[in-house]
Amino acid sequence: MRMKKKMTPEMVGLSVGEKNFIKGGIAQDLRNDGRKRLTYRPIYVETGVIPQANGSARVKLGETDVIASVKAELGKPRVSHPDQGKVYIYVECSPTAEPSFERRGGDELSTELSIALERSLLGGKSGAGAGINPASLLIKEGKVCWDLYVDCLVISSDGNLLDALGAAIKAALSNTGIPRVQVREAASSDEQADVDVSDEEFLQFDTSGVPVIVTLTKVGRHYIVDATSEEESLMSSAVSISVNRHGMICGLTKRGGAGLDPSVILDMISVAKHVSEQLLNKLDSEIEAAERANEEEP
């Protein structure tokens, strides 16, 4: 039985000596847990954790633990885009992760994460570069479409929430089954169109286009990938880059107030592209293993 009493930096704060130790280690490519600057913590993926949702996944990145669930409901397309379905991404930071998240405390972080995820996964206004193609959610143009609600919950936070959430959404989408619908032609051409939602047949989502998010945290003059919350408390700024399988940048968010030189940002983009390849492969194999484990269960 492990008795672990962790004093998080948010509770006590790091001493000057500890800060210098971490910074010095990073400068020498050696982090507190023995990783190199560009190495991720071991990723653990479990799919199908929420039976009532259309798709769900739980991802553990070291001590960071997040759950993503996908629910599909019938809705009406927007007037401005009648040929597209709608996707909503919402993140909730649970007080179990941090006591300060109780009630309104986690709101700011939740909105920041939700917006960053929407930007990475939904692409440009015309739908280009979208991980989830809204046009595939259409049932009847202008009348009926699928509304996809992606809800994420942060259970435990040890840094790098955005990457873990991105991975969880990708895994949840590969686990998602949208019921097949048949449109019954309505007698009168009014707003309502009858649809038959099948209970048996499900269509799987194609997640090969879903990008993965890589957050590069700048500590001193070097960048690290997958920062723990200790390392995040030392950061001057962080850039989260979303890269898809074809090496295209699908979204970029800079976090932290400090200014960055433009050449540094361009350098970070190339580092992120390099790291994302390994992460994508690792994640895909983990998701496959999780899906297989699901099927083997009686």
């Binding site: 401005s80 700011e108 909105t111 920041e112 917006i115 930007r119 990475s120 939904l122 692409g123 440009g124 206004k125 015309s126 280009a128 570069g129 850039v239 898809n244 090496g247 295209m248 940048i249 699908c250 979204g251 970029l252 968010t253 800079k254 976090r255 107030g257 400090a258 200014g259 960055l260 030189d261 433009p262 940002i265 361009l266 983009i269 190339s270 592209k273």
Partner: protein, 255 residues
């Protein structure tokens, strides 16, 4: 605001709401900009400080059809924070008037702009210069004609300078949209609604530092290089325009 010239009719009959035909950009054909600008040409900027007299500082900006007014109050006692802090606090709020968008009330779902404005400005303000107090920045978008957030950010930094808050540098912001195969700078709302990707940079021109960068859509690395270079060039020019606007006020006072 520009006044309309032309014959004034005896009676006024409102023209029916014209649903302009929406042109969807075609992949291989060059996009023609609605206001016949070049691709790398920004809209002419009209900037004026001192628009709101009770505020500590204020600015009004008009970039084509995008009209924004920003007022800054402070440093003053902060109502929210009870805790002591040896740096000042910045509080930003961006809101749209109900008549800012073609459909009434469309701007109310743009709540994330306040946090984006906060992130863009906090890197430029010397917060240590006003401990225990807070500075409020209120931005109001009077008309949304595209590229709203960059105009709000530039106008807000002008208002902060007008209020006398100590800044590391003015903050200039420009956005670029990828429409079809062309990169267009300073997009209007029509171009924004059909873009394949958009990139917004906020930078401090004299220090050559980027305080905020937001990219969405699909980009290849060389395209990002080009877009960033374009934006940074435009930001430094905008920074000069902002500086001359501030200097004009001082020269007017001297005369």
């Amino acid at each position: 605001m520009a006044s309309k010239t032309g014959s004034t009719p005896a009676t006024y009959s409102p023209s029916p709401a014209t649903h302009k035909k929406k042109r969807i950009p075609i992949a291989d054909v060059d996009w023609v900009r609605p206001d016949s600008r070049g691709f790398y040409q920004c809209r002419p900027a009209y900037l004026r400080t001192g628009a709101v007299s009770p505020a500590a500082g204020s600015a009004y900006a008009e970039f084509g059809n995008t009209k924004v007014i920003v007022s800054v109050f402070g440093p003053r006692e902060s109502k929210k924070a009870m805790m002591y802090s040896d740096t000042g606090r910045l509080n930003c709020d961006v809101s749209y008037t109900t008549f800012a968008t073609p459909n009434r009330g469309q701007g109310s779902d743009k709540k994330e702009l306040s946090s984006m404005l906060h992130k863009a400005l906090e890197g430029a303000i010397i917060l240590e210069s006003f401990p225990k107090t807070c500075v409020d920045v209120f931005a109001l978008v009077l008309e949304s004609g595209g590229s709203d957030l960059p105009v709000v950010i530039s106008c807000a930094s002008l208002a902060l300078a007008d209020a006398g808050i100590l800044l590391y540098d003015l903050v200039a912001s420009v956005s670029v949209s990828c429409v079809g195969k062309n990169l267009v700078i300073d997009p209007v709302s029509e171009e924004e609604s059909y873009n394949d990707g958009s990139l917004m940079i906020t930078c401090m021109p004299s220090r050559n530092q980027v305080t905020q960068l937001i990219v969405d859509g699909e980009w290849s690395t060389p395209k990002i290089h080009d877009a960033m270079e374009l934006c940074l060039g435009a930001c430094s020019k905008l920074g000069e325009v902002m500086r001359s606007c501030l200097k004009d006020v001082v020269t007017d006072l001297k005369e």
